[in-house]
C-alpha cells in the first residue's frame, strides 16, 4: 500500500503520518490474522468438543477478549521498559513460585495455585513470560555470543524456576518455561560445543531424574507412551482413545459434530489437552494440515519479527516467544498422537482454558511491541 501511495501525487505530504490504525495501535497484522484464524477455528472445534454447549464457547470467547485486551495493553509497552523490569518480574514470579509449596492450593494432587481470596492464579504462568524476558535481559548485558560464565548463570536462572515448577508437579509447564529460557540462550549464539555438552549433561540427568524427581504417575505416562496397550482401561485409555479418534478421522474426517469418539465420551479431556483429536476426527488430516499451516504462519511471522527486530533484546525475545509457542503446538499434538508422553500442555488458542490463553496473548503482545519498534526506529 505504502509503496503504491508513494507514487501518487501529493501523497508524500502526509507520509510521515500515514500510519495505519494497526500501526498506531502497535499491532502486527500479519501475526494477528493467522492467530485470529486459529482462534475462530478453535471456537468451532470447542463447540463440537463441548457437545454444542454455548456456555463453554461463550466463556472461551470471554477468555479470548480478556487475552486480546491484555495483548493490546502489553503491545504499548516499550521494549526497554520490559527489559528494565524483567529482573523484578522474574524475582517476583520466583518468589511467588517458592510460596506455592507452603501456601498453594491443590487440584488433583498437584499444588500449582496461589489464592488471594478473590482470585486464584498460577505463578508458573507468570514465569512463562518472565523467563524469556529475564534470560534475554541477562545475556544482552554483555556482547553476544555470551561468555561461558554468562551462559552458566543463565542456565541457573532457567533451572531454578523450572525445577520448582516440575516439583509442583507440572511437567508440561516446566518444559515450556525451561524451553523459553533455553531458546534465548540458543539464539544468543552459545557455541555448538557448549550446546552439545549441555545436551549430554541433560541426558546424564535423565537417570537420576527418573529415580528421584519424577513421580509415579509421570513415569507411568512415559511407560504408557511406549506401550499403551499394557493398561488399556487405565493409563493407556487416554492415548488409545485419542489415537483411535485421530486415526478414524482419515483424510476428510467424519464431519463436523459427527465425531463418535468425542461425542460418545470415549475421548477424555476432549475440550482441553486432547482437543486436537476432536478436530482430527471430525475434519480429518485436511483439518490437521490446515491448522498446522495457520500455526506455521504464526511461527513464520514471529521469526520474521525476530529477524527484523532492531535490538538484540528484541530479537532474542521474539524468537524465544515464537519458538516456545511452537513447542506448545508440537508437544500437544505429539502427545495426543502418542509420540510424546502425556504432559499438561494445551493446544494454543484451541484448548479451552483462560490462564494459558491470557499468557499466550501476553506473549503475542510483546511480539507485537517488538514488531512495532522495528518500524518506528527504521
Amino acid at each position: 500500500m505504502s509503496e503504491y501511495t508513494r507514487f501518487l501525487e501529493g501523497s508524500d505530504r502526509d507520509f510521515a503520518n500515514a500510519q495505519t490504525l494497526a500501526e498506531r495501535l502497535r499491532l502486527d497484522v500479519l501475526l494477528l490474522l493467522p492467530m485470529l484464524a486459529i482462534m475462530t477455528t478453535g471456537l468451532f472445534v470447542l463447540f463440537s468438543a463441548s457437545d454444542g454447549d454455548w456456555d463453554t464457547v461463550n466463556r472461551q470467547i470471554r477468555n479470548f477478549l480478556i487475552g486480546l485486551a491484555v495483548l493490546m495493553v502489553v503491545a504499548q509497552i516499550r521494549l526497554d521498559t520490559l527489559q528494565r523490569w524483567a529482573p523484578t518480574l522474574y524475582l517476583g514470579a520466583l518468589f511467588l513460585l517458592l510460596l506455592v509449596p507452603f501456601f498453594g492450593v491443590g487440584v488433583k494432587g498437584a499444588q500449582r495455585w496461589l489464592s488471594l481470596g478473590f482470585i486464584r492464579f498460577q505463578p508458573s504462568e507468570i514465569m512463562k513470560i518472565a523467563m524469556p524476558l529475564m534470560v534475554a535481559a541477562w545475556v544482552v548485558r554483555y556482547a553476544l555470543p555470551p561468555r561461558p560464565t554468562t551462559t552458566v548463570a543463565a542456565l541457573m536462572i532457567i533451572a531454578l524456576p523450572a525445577a520448582a515448577i516440575a516439583t509442583q508437579p507440572d511437567l508440561g509447564t516446566a518444559i515450556l518455561v525451561g524451553a523459553s529460557g533455553a531458546f534465548v540462550v540458543f539464539m544468543a549464539g552459545v557455541s555448538w560445543w557448549q550446546i552439545f555438552s549441555g545436551a549430554l549433561a541433560a541426558l546424564a540427568c535423565i537417570w537420576p531424574a527418573w529415580l528421584f524427581l519424577l513421580r509415579d504417575y509421570q513415569k507411568q505416562r512415559i511407560v504408557t507412551l511406549f506401550d499403551p496397550e499394557a493398561d488399556r482401561l487405565g493409563a493407556g485409555w487416554n492415548i488409545i482413545q485419542s489415537k483411535t479418534a485421530i486415526g478414524s478421522g482419515g483424510w476428510s474426517g467424519k464431519g463436523y459434530l459427527q465425531g463418535t469418539q468425542s461425542h460418545l465420551d470415549f475421548l477424555p479431556e476432549s475440550q482441553t489437552d486432547f482437543i486436537i483429536a476432536v478436530l482430527a476426527e471430525e475434519w480429518g488430516l485436511r483439518g490437521v494440515l490446515l491448522l498446522l499451516l495457520l500455526y506455521g504462519l504464526v511461527v513464520a511471522r514471529g521469526l520474521w519479527i525476530s529477524l527484523t527486530a532492531q535490538t538484540s533484546y528484541g530479537r532474542l525475545l521474539a524468537s524465544a516467544i515464537t519458538l516456545t509457542f511452537g513447542v506448545y503446538v508440537v508437544v500437544n499434538m505429539g502427545m495426543v498422537a502418542g509420540i510424546l508422553p502425556v504432559v499438561g500442555v494445551p493446544l494454543p488458542f484451541v484448548s479451552f482454558g483462560g490462564t494459558s490463553i491470557v499468557t499466550l496473548l501476553l506473549g503475542f503482545g510483546i511480539l507485537s511491541a517488538i514488531s512495532a519498534e522495528k518500524r518506528v526506529l527504521s
Binding site: A137, M187, G247, G250, A280, L285, L289, L292, R315, G334
Partner: protein, 615 residues
C-alpha cells in the same frame, strides 16, 4: 546499564548470529513438523482402517434379542408349557460407584440366598462390559411392587421384564414335558453360546430338552450405538428374532388328568397310545414333581428331597423304569410260537399246576397252585392259557422253543430296545438270550432260566412304553408306529412314523386276540373284574411279577412281606377290539398283582372312548 554496554557491541555480528540461529531454528522446525505430519499421516491415512474399526467397535455393540420360546399345547390346543412375564433385577457394574456395596444392599433388600449370590458371581464372570447381570430372577408383579418398588432408582440397578416358562398343570405333565432351567456354564458346552447369549432358559429334561433347537428359535440382533458409559443412544440396525416353534402334542390333557387320577397314590406308570399313529395320548409316572420349581433354579433342599426320595419322583417310569414284563408277554410269545409252528390254536397241554423239566426235580409252579392248590384245568389250550394266564402252558412252550427262538420272536415287538420316542433318557430294557448272557454276565444259559423267561421273569426287563408299543402291534395286527408325544412342530407333522410290520396269518392274530378278550370278558379271565358295565370290548393281558425270589415251596403271604417287596401288577390292553382306538400299558409298583393295574387301564379307556364317541 544496557545502554552503556551497547556502545561496545558489534551489532552487525549479533544480527548475523541471530540470523544463523534462526536458520537452524527453521530447519529444526521443519524436521519436527515433518515428524508430526508423518505421525498424523500414519494414523489417519495408513492406519485409518484399523482405527475406524476400533472406533466402531468402541461405540457399536451388538445386542442379542432372545427369541420367544415356542409353546407346547395338547391335541386340543390347550397350553401345557407357556411363556409368562416376570421381572429380573440386574446389576450393571459400570454404572455403580461401589458395586460391592450395591450387591450388599440388594442382598438385604431382596433377601437373596447364597445360591442366588453364587449364581450371580458365576454370571458376572461371563458378562461383557456394561452388560446387566441378573441377580434376582422370577419376581412377579406383586413381589416387584412390594420388594423392589424403588430399586430402579439406585444407580447400577436395572429392572427388566422377561418371559419365563410356566407349567400350569405342574406335576401332571412334568415327566412328559420335562422343564427348562437357567442356562448354566455346563449347558454352554453343548449349546451354541452365540445363540444363547441373552437366552435365560434351556430345556433340561423331557420334551423341553429333546426339542430345544426347535423351541428356542433364532435370536435377533440389534446394533446399538453406546457411549463410553455403555448407555444405549440409538439403534442402528435391527434384525428381529425368529420365535421358537410351537409343539402340538398327541397328548390329551383330560385323558392325562384322568390317568393321574386313576393311578392316585399308586406308584407306577401309565402309557396310553393312539394305535393309528403311535401318538402318546397320556403318559404318567407317579410320583411326580413340580417342574415350575426348576425354572428359576430349584433350592438345594427341595432338590435334595426329590433326589433322596425312595419313591424316585424324578424317574420317568414310563420310559426309564425297567420291569420284568411278566405274563404280559404271553400273547407275544404265543404269536411267535404260532408263526413257527411250535403250537397251533388247538394245542393242549396237561396242567397239574406245575411244570418240571425232564430229568430235573425242581417244580416250576403255576400261580394257581398257590391260590387253589391245583392247575387251571385238566387240559389247557392257547385261548385258556392266555385268558387265565396259564404258567404251565408257557413253561412247556418256552422249553420247547428255547431262549434264542423266544428272543427272536419277541424282538420285532420292540422289547429290550428303545422305542425311539421323542422323550430323552429312554432305557433299553433287556431281551435276554444266550449271547446276551455270555456277553453281559460271562455265563452260559441254564435251561431253568428259559422256563422263567417263558412267563416274562428272570433277566427280561421292559419299560412300560415298550409294553404299550407291543400292545399297539397286537391291536393293529402287526402294524405299528414309533411312539411319539409330539404330533406337529408348527405345521410340520413329526409323529406317525411307521415301524416294520410283522406279517402273520390273520388266524394266528385272531387266536391270540380271542384269548386276550377272554382275559377281560370271560368270567375266569384274570382281569374279569373290569368288564362290568362297559359298552365295548377290551382285549388285555395281565401280569404279576415277583420283586423278591420266593424260596421253593414257601407259602406266599402278601401281608408278611413289606410293602416294597410286594409284587408289581401289570396290564396291557387295547380297545375296542374290532377297531382299536386306544392302547394302554399300566404298571402298579408293588401293587400286589395285576388287579392294581387293570382298573386303571379300564378307567382311562372309558374316558377316552366315551369322549371319542361323543365327538
Amino acid at each position: 546499564m544496557a545502554r552503556t554496554l551497547d556502545a561496545l557491541r558489534d551489532t552487525r555480528r549479533e544480527w548475523m548470529i541471530n540470523r544463523s540461529r534462526l536458520v537452524v531454528a527453521v530447519l529444526a522446525i521443519i524436521v519436527v513438523l515433518g515428524v508430526l505430519v508423518y505421525r498424523y499421516y500414519s494414523l489417519q491415512i495408513v492406519q485409518h482402517d484399523d482405527f475406524m474399526t476400533q472406533s466402531d467397535r468402541n461405540r457399536i455393540r451388538v445386542e442379542v434379542i432372545p427369541p420367544t420360546r415356542g409353546q407346547i399345547v395338547d391335541r386340543k390346543g390347550r397350553l401345557l408349557a407357556a411363556n409368562k412375564p416376570t421381572f429380573v433385577i440386574g446389576v450393571v457394574r459400570e454404572r455403580s460407584e461401589d458395586p460391592a456395596a450395591l450387591v450388599d444392599t440388594l442382598t438385604e433388600r431382596l433377601s437373596l440366598s447364597d445360591r442366588e449370590l453364587k449364581a450371580f458371581q458365576e454370571r458376572s464372570e461371563r458378562r461383557r462390559p456394561f452388560e446387566a447381570v441378573p441377580i434376582k430372577l422370577g419376581l412377579d408383579d406383586a413381589a416387584l411392587a412390594t420388594v423392589a418398588v424403588d430399586l430402579h432408582q439406585l444407580p447400577g440397578v436395572v429392572v427388566d421384564a422377561k418371559l419365563t416358562r410356566d407349567y400350569p398343570f405342574g406335576e401332571a405333565l412334568s415327566h412328559v414335558l420335562g422343564y427348562v432351567g437357567r442356562v448354566s456354564a455346563e449347558d454352554l458346552f453343548e449349546l451354541d453360546a452365540e445363540r444363547y447369549r441373552s437366552t435365560l432358559h434351556t430345556g433340561k429334561v423331557g420334551l423341553e430338552k429333546r426339542y430345544e433347537p426347535l423351541l428356542h428359535g433364532k435370536p435377533g440382533y440389534q446394533y446399538v450405538e453406546t457411549n463410553a458409559h455403555g448407555r444405549v443412544l440409538r439403534v442402528l440396525e435391527k434384525q428381529a428374532p425368529v420365535p421358537g416353534k410351537n409343539l402340538r402334542l398327541y397328548l390329551d390333557l383330560d385323558l392325562q388328568r384322568e390317568a393321574v387320577a386313576a393311578l392316585g397314590d399308586q406308584r407306577g406308570a401309565v402309557v396310553a397310545l393312539d394305535p393309528l399313529t403311535g401318538g402318546v395320548l397320556a403318559m404318567v409316572s407317579n410320583p411326580s414333581y413340580d417342574p415350575n420349581l426348576f425354572v428359576e433354579g430349584i433350592s438345594y433342599s427341595d432338590y435334595a428331597k426329590l433326589r433322596g426320595s425312595l419313591d424316585t419322583p424324578l424317574l420317568n417310569r414310563a420310559v426309564q423304569g425297567q420291569y420284568p414284563p411278566g405274563s404280559t408277554i404271553k400273547p407275544l410269545i404265543s404269536l411267535g410260537a404260532l408263526a413257527r409252528d411250535f403250537i397251533t390254536p388247538d394245542t393242549e397241554i396237561r396242567d397239574p399246576g406245575w411244570y418240571r423239566l425232564p430229568g430235573d426235580d425242581r417244580r416250576y409252579r403255576d400261580w394257581t397252585l398257590r391260590v387253589r392248590g391245583t392247575g387251571h384245568a385238566e387240559t389247557v389250550d392257547l385261548r385258556m392259557a392266555i385268558a387265565e394266564s396259564c404258567d404251565t402252558y408257557y413253561y412247556d412252550l418256552a422249553h420247547r422253543m428255547g431262549i434264542d427262538a423266544m428272543a427272536e420272536v419277541l424282538q420285532p415287538f420292540g422289547l429290550g430296545q428303545r422305542t425311539g420316542i421323542d422323550i430323552p433318557g429312554e432305557q433299553d430294557g433287556i431281551l435276554p438270550n444266550t449271547d446276551w448272557k455270555r456277553a453281559a454276565l460271562g455265563e452260559p444259559w441254564y435251561p431253568g432260566e428259559t422256563i422263567s423267561a417263558g412267563i416274562g421273569q428272570g433277566y427280561m426287563l421292559t419299560t412300560p412304553l415298550q409294553l404299550a408299543q407291543a400292545a399297539m402291534v397286537l391291536a393293529n395286527k402287526g402294524e405299528s408306529f414309533v411312539p411319539s408325544v409330539v404330533h406337529r412342530v408348527d405345521d410340520l407333522t413329526v409323529g406317525g412314523v411307521q415301524r416294520p410290520s410283522i406279517p402273520m396269518d390273520e388266524a394266528d392274530w385272531q387266536a391270540v386276540v380271542v384269548g386276550m378278550v377272554d382275559v377281560v370278558h370271560s368270567p375266569r379271565g384274570t382281569a374279569a373284574g373290569i368288564a362290568r358295565g362297559i359298552g365295548y370290548q377290551i382285549a388285555g393281558k395281565t401280569g404279576t411279577t415277583q420283586v423278591v425270589n420266593i424260596a421253593q415251596d414257601a407259602i406266599y403271604d402278601e401281608d408278611a412281606i413289606s410293602e416294597r417287596n410286594r409284587n408289581h401288577g401289570l396290564f396291557i390292553a387295547f380297545a375296542p377290539v374290532e377297531n382299536p382306538r386306544i392302547v394302554v400299558a399300566v404298571i402298579a409298583e408293588n401293587g400286589g398283582g395285576s388287579r392294581a393295574a387293570s382298573p386303571v387301564a379300564q378307567r382311562i379307556m372309558d374316558a377316552w372312548l366315551s369322549e371319542a364317541s361323543d365327538v
